[in-house]
Symmetry: C2
Subunit: 226 residues, 2 copies
DNA sequence: GTCCAAGCGGACGATCGCGTCCACTTAAGA
DNA sequence: TCTTAAGTGGACGCGATCGTCCGCTTGGAC
């Protein structure tokens, strides 16, 4: 208590510094959404209305910036997992989890790449969080399988497959999310033990031609060349 | 006849030029496989043992190089579609087609991105080929649905969804293809009208952590930083 | 109001990829 | 063998991005 309210020598952070840090985070989300996480650092700085040095002081590496920008989304993912575990019906929990994470990837452009980028990190703190997430998800899977709702041969690693594939889809397409919803629905259906035919969301208007990809790799926005 | 065997003024192509062109194509496939299609042109040139100028003369743009390097694979795709149409069982044809294209994407690293990159192109020649491919695939889908094997709500555009998602998967993972096979199997299963539970290929050993992705976008190889 | 260190911004040198230009080499017809 | 134009290679200029350095500004304690 005293610790958090007292202004100590260590605790002094100038108001403008804190404000700038926040501005940078907001700008980063916007810029990453528009140009992908490879966008020049200078662009983020300009957008935030600060100098490059300021940006680099707060976030020494691009990685730190990405992590900072999407910390909130990562938090949401973690919460979704907790809620899924707490759900009375494990299949409901499972389905909800996949859909929540995918929806997040879909809505916050730039997040998908960041989401994936966050995982190889081996900070002891992060490693711990990741291990816990993996353990929890495995528990969820086992429960859903025990309930006879999730197919027995589903493997926890399949989540990685799904998320990676889905990530690419939403990053590559400046879409309303139709493709994403379509893919998720297909996959969730084949994950069900009974694999009943449930209605799918409407098909996308996509043609192969409609990909906004030229020479660039699919992960890149091409807003600059448009 | 005479036209093809006769050496005309227009036809003269020096032997070394032809040889270099071929070397460049081979080098391009190797380099693109290793570093992605964003790899520096100079790297391709060095690998081919030719100068940059030579490379640029044969392929004025990166796009032309990519197209040239993977022309054979595109050809294979086209043939697969033709064969699928000719198959007695339309579902067999459909399945075969998806698996062939995905296998191709899986085996020839760098091809997936190239494959997608090839489509937005609007050369009249290419546009025609593409239109035909779309028409043929739609026919195949209708037949498979009429046979009661493919679910009625499958839409031809779903192919684009599948290929894009799959493309990202194989590009991002320096994998033995387990993830790719897994995804394809899941999807094909949910494409079946009956959605019977058939055995899946074995699960991958993947963890979220195992993605070879740092700050880079998932499409990038990171061999340089390894 | 005064002071000073935390904070700031932008200039700068370094690095990298691109695509062109030009002087040299060589295949191949006569 | 001679000729010549197609073919070649690498140096070069350009532009983008990176990350640092340094002199100026300003919050906030006293």
């Amino acid at each position: 208590m005293a610790e958090s309210s007292r202004i100590t020598a260590r605790n002094r952070v100038r108001a403008d510094a804190r404000r700038n840090r926040e501005r940078v985070l907001v700008a980063a989300r916007v810029v990453f959404a528009e140009h992908g996480i490879d966008a020049p650092m200078a662009t983020v700085a300009r957008r935030a209305g600060v100098g490059v040095a300021t940006l680099y002081r707060h976030f020494p590496t691009r990685d730190a910036l990405v992590r900072g920008a999407f910390a909130q989304q990562m938090e949401t993912c973690a919460r979704a997992l907790t809620e899924a575990l707490a759900a009375p019906d494990p299949w409901q929990g499972f389905q909800q989890l996949v859909e929540t994470v995918c929806a997040l990837q879909r809505e916050e452009r730039g997040f998908p790449a960041a989401f994936l980028a966050a995982f190889p990190e081996s900070t002891s703190e992060h490693a711990q969080a990741r291990q816990r997430a993996e353990r929890d998800f495995t528990t969820l899977v086992r429960r859903a399988q025990a309930a006879g709702a999730l197919r027995a041969d589903f493997h926890p690693s399949d989540l990685a497959v799904v998320l990676l594939a889905h990530c690419a889809l939403v990053t590559a397409l400046p879409d309303d999310g139709a493709a994403s919803r379509r893919l998720v629905a297909y996959l969730l259906q084949s994950f069900r033990a009974d694999s009943a035919n449930r209605p799918l969301p409407p098909p996308t208007a996509l043609t192969l031609r409609s990909f906004p990809i030229a020479t660039d790799s699919p992960q890149r926005r091409r807003s600059s060349s448009a």
